[in-house]
């Protein structure tokens, strides 16, 4: 029996090893792919007792000048980070007992590495965090309460005086702040002003005006009866859907964060509106898998879209010959202005042993002159009001027809709403995005699509 089982055991062992191969299926037979670890997932056992109280016990009244090395995790990228060697050297000059060890990490794998590091007690002292990660991290008590650490002050002034309402809400978890926003993302309307002028289209301020403008803008270049040029990009993801949802007076979840409300009449209306743009022929379905828009801007397929400040840099680098042809306006709305609010926050993990030094670092890089560098170096939009109102950011931009686009984004940020702070948010986000496709591609109606998403979302929220 044992001898007859041996080949079976070898077979099963072989299957286990083959199933566990990571990227090692080479060459690839038909339908195969380089494998991803399945059962042999890289694992770091959890460390018991790694949780640290969220509130700091570091006194803010006096500076501790014991030499420290501050570990800073940065996902901006070495070429475009605001934490340049010069800037860090200047910080170290001002605080000579602090040595900064800035570490570059790739955004794609950042969250997993961050969680492994934090759960094993080896997290950084300061971390750049995508605001969409904050719900999960904050709800797991990973992030230090910066309000307690700072006494509510940032560089000598109240934090509430330095950010507008949207960022303050986004940084708040419970009674404290879990992050300080370094840059922000909120959506405004990008449009080809030259085409608007050519066709006599007024800048839309309402949904009806946007739909009319899109129809007038669209052209059929190949005579097949279907507009294929100068369309409005309809993006099937939660970021863009929530913009329309908020503008229509709706919310993603109930205030307790236990139930989906994106399938309300406001949500159905928001999705119906996007479906309508596609059905009119003036909306172009542009999936996340299609990547960024510049290729469609270059060949003229898209001439209008909603997106955040970082797209200004994308346009300048990706479509330089359309300089002067684009402008930015407040996104048209139905009931009230609205947008999702994202961006990058600077946080201190609760387990950091150098909380005071970390706070000094964060404060330094949130000074107005450093915040302005967020734009000049990275192309992103600084989150503090002082930077957004500075002459450097309010000067006319020749690419955008000599207008000052940051004034638009400043207004947009004031009415932007962050995603709900629930532990299951990333799962809910995925569910919403997946179900939008069914309606946008005409496979089902908006209510059925959102109701199905709501059922799945409620199940995740209940876990």
């Amino acid at each position: 029996m044992i001898l007859r089982m041996r080949p079976v055991a070898v077979l099963i062992a072989t299957a286990i090893v083959l199933a566990g191969c990571s990227g090692s299926v080479s060459p690839a037979p038909s339908g195969a792919a380089s494998a991803v670890p399945s059962a042999a997932a890289s694992a770091v056992p959890s460390v018991e007792g790694s949780a640290v109280p969220a509130e700091s016990t570091v006194p803010t009244a006096s500076l501790d000048t014991t030499p420290v090395t501050l570990t800073v995790w940065d996902y901006y990228g070495k070429e475009v980070t605001p934490f340049t060697p010069d800037a860090i050297a200047a910080f170290q000059n001002e605080y000579p007992w602090i040595t900064v060890d800035r570490q570059d990490l790739d955004w794609e794998s950042y969250l997993q590495k961050f969680n492994v590091a934090v759960s094993s007690g080896q997290g950084p002292d300061v971390a750049t965090l995508d605001m969409t990660w904050i719900p999960t991290l904050a709800s797991n008590d990973v992030l230090l309460d910066l309000k307690a650490l700072s006494g509510g002050m940032l560089n000598g002034a109240p934090i509430t005086d330095q950010y507008s309402k949207g960022p303050i809400e986004a940084m708040t978890y419970g009674d404290g702040y879990v992050t300080m926003m370094n840059d922000f993302d909120a959506y405004a309307l990008y449009y080809r002003a030259d085409l608007f002028e050519q066709k006599g289209i007024p800048v839309p301020k309402t949904w009806d005006e946007l739909r009319a403008a899109a129809k007038k803008l669209a052209e059929d270049s190949n005579g097949d009866g279907k507009p294929d040029k100068y369309l409005y990009a309809v993006r099937p993801n939660t970021f863009h859907f929530s913009q329309f949802l908020f503008q229509n007076g709706g919310q993603l979840l109930n205030p307790e964060g236990t139930k989906a409300t994106f399938n309300s009449d406001a949500g159905v209306g928001a999705l119906d509106y996007q479906v309508g743009l596609i059905q009119d022929g003036s909306g172009l379905y542009w999936s996340d898998a299609d990547g960024d828009l510049p290729p469609a801007l270059v060949d003229g397929r898209v001439a209008m879209f909603s997106d955040g400040p970082y797209y200004m840099g994308l346009l300048k680098s990706g479509v330089p010959d359309q300089s002067g042809k684009w402008k930015i306006a407040i996104a048209p709305y139905s009931k009230q202005p609205g947008s999702y609010l994202g961006g990058t926050g600077l946080s201190i993990p609760a387990g950091s042993a150098h909380q005071q030094a970390a706070w000094l670092f964060i404060q330094y890089f949130l000074r107005p002159e450093q915040q302005i560098r967020v734009y000049t170096v990275t192309g992103a939009a600084p989150a503090t009001t002082a930077a957004l109102e500075s002459p450097e950011l309010t000067q006319p931009d020749p690419y955008f027809g000599g207008e000052a686009p940051f004034t638009v984004f400043l207004d947009t940020m004031a009415t932007a709403t962050h995603f709900p702070y629930v532990a299951a948010w990333s799962q809910v986000d995925t569910i919403i995005s997946e179900n939008l496709d069914a309606a946008l591609l005409g496979k089902t109606d908006s209510r059925a699509a959102l109701d199905e998403a709501a059922v799945a979302a409620d199940a995740e929220l209940a876990k």
Binding site: L11, I12, A35, A43, L111, A423
Partner: protein, 290 residues
């Protein structure tokens, strides 16, 4: 008895020492993570707070979740289509190449070349071909046929990805089958001809039996690889539209990234069980009988 055992150990010692590093690496980088992952699959764990033991809840939730079952359905479709078409194309090309074709080495290289290219690069190029203004729609336009949103239509997205995978992979099968065909003794065909067997009969009664072990190998490796499709999905569609191109491993990776480590580990183990059973069945029913 003890003397015999000691002698056997002494005799085998050099061998054990030689394989020890490989065993150590396998234990550290495969066995230990597998055991830890197995434990995680029985817990609710987000990588931050300590895991909470939930028994088989993750498995039950997956096997009763209509969304996950649709993802499994996508994966099965991917495997069936890929393994129905790919090996056939590979065998067909190998049979053609096995004839005295001029420039056989060149054709062999041409068929095998896509296999040597990174699947990510292949998927990136095919994604461009499938675009609204890509080459495929352009070619259709030449014949007066309308273009199509191949990757943005839930009906055509997955078949489009399968075509890409087949294109990239059938060269491997061609080369393997060609080598196996050339190992079949010529005399066997001569004997069949003498017995009056035509081309089809020779193929059925000489070629196929001679390729039995190779076919088994191709299907075991191919099915294991197909069930783990990820790269081309990530590049071409990211599982969209909807979940029409989402495969089991894509879902597994997504759940890891969303820090649902318990459920992700459960998916990994379900996949392991399925692949082990399939491999066992293939060997049991189609393996060599002595």
């Amino acid at each position: 008895m003890e003397g015999t055992l000691a002698r056997r150990i002494r005799a085998g010692l050099p061998g054990y020492l030689l394989v020890a590093p490989a065993v150590a690496v396998t234990v550290v980088f495969f066995v230990v993570p597998m055991v830890v992952s197995g434990y995680w699959s029985l817990t609710q764990y987000n990588g931050i707070k300590p895991p909470t033991f939930v028994g088989l809840d993750n498995y039950i939730a997956l096997l009763t979740d209509p969304r996950f079952l649709r993802i499994v359905q996508n994966t099965v479709f991917f495997v069936v289509m890929g393994m129905a078409i790919g090996p056939l194309l590979g065998l067909g090309s190998a049979v053609l190449l096995n004839e005295s074709v001029r420039l056989r080495a060149l054709f062999r290289t041409a068929f095998f070349l896509p296999t040597m290219v990174s699947l990510v690069a292949v998927a990136t190029v095919w994604k461009m071909l499938y675009q609204d203004q890509g080459l495929i729609n352009d070619l259709l336009g030449v014949f007066g046929l309308p273009g199509h949103a191949w990757l943005n239509d839930p009906t055509t997205a997955l078949p489009a990805v399968v075509v890409t995978s087949i294109w990239q992979g059938f060269g491997f099968e061609t080369v393997v089958f060609l080598a196996a065909l050339q190992a079949i003794p010529r005399e066997t065909y001569d004997a069949a001809k003498v017995d009056g067997a035509g081309a089809w009969a020779q193929f059925r009664h000489v070629t196929l039996p001679g390729l039995r072990a190779t076919i088994l190998f191709i299907y075991i490796i191919g099915i294991i690889g197909s069930f783990q499709a990820f790269d081309q999905i990530f590049v071409m569609t990211q599982g969209r539209p909807g979940i029409s191109t989402r495969t089991v491993v894509y879902e597994l990776v997504d759940e890891f990234q969303r820090l649902d480590l318990g459920s992700a580990s459960a998916i990994a183990y379900l996949l392991l069980i399925v692949l082990a059973v399939l491999s066992f069945l293939q060997l049991r029913f189609f393996g060599e009988r002595d």
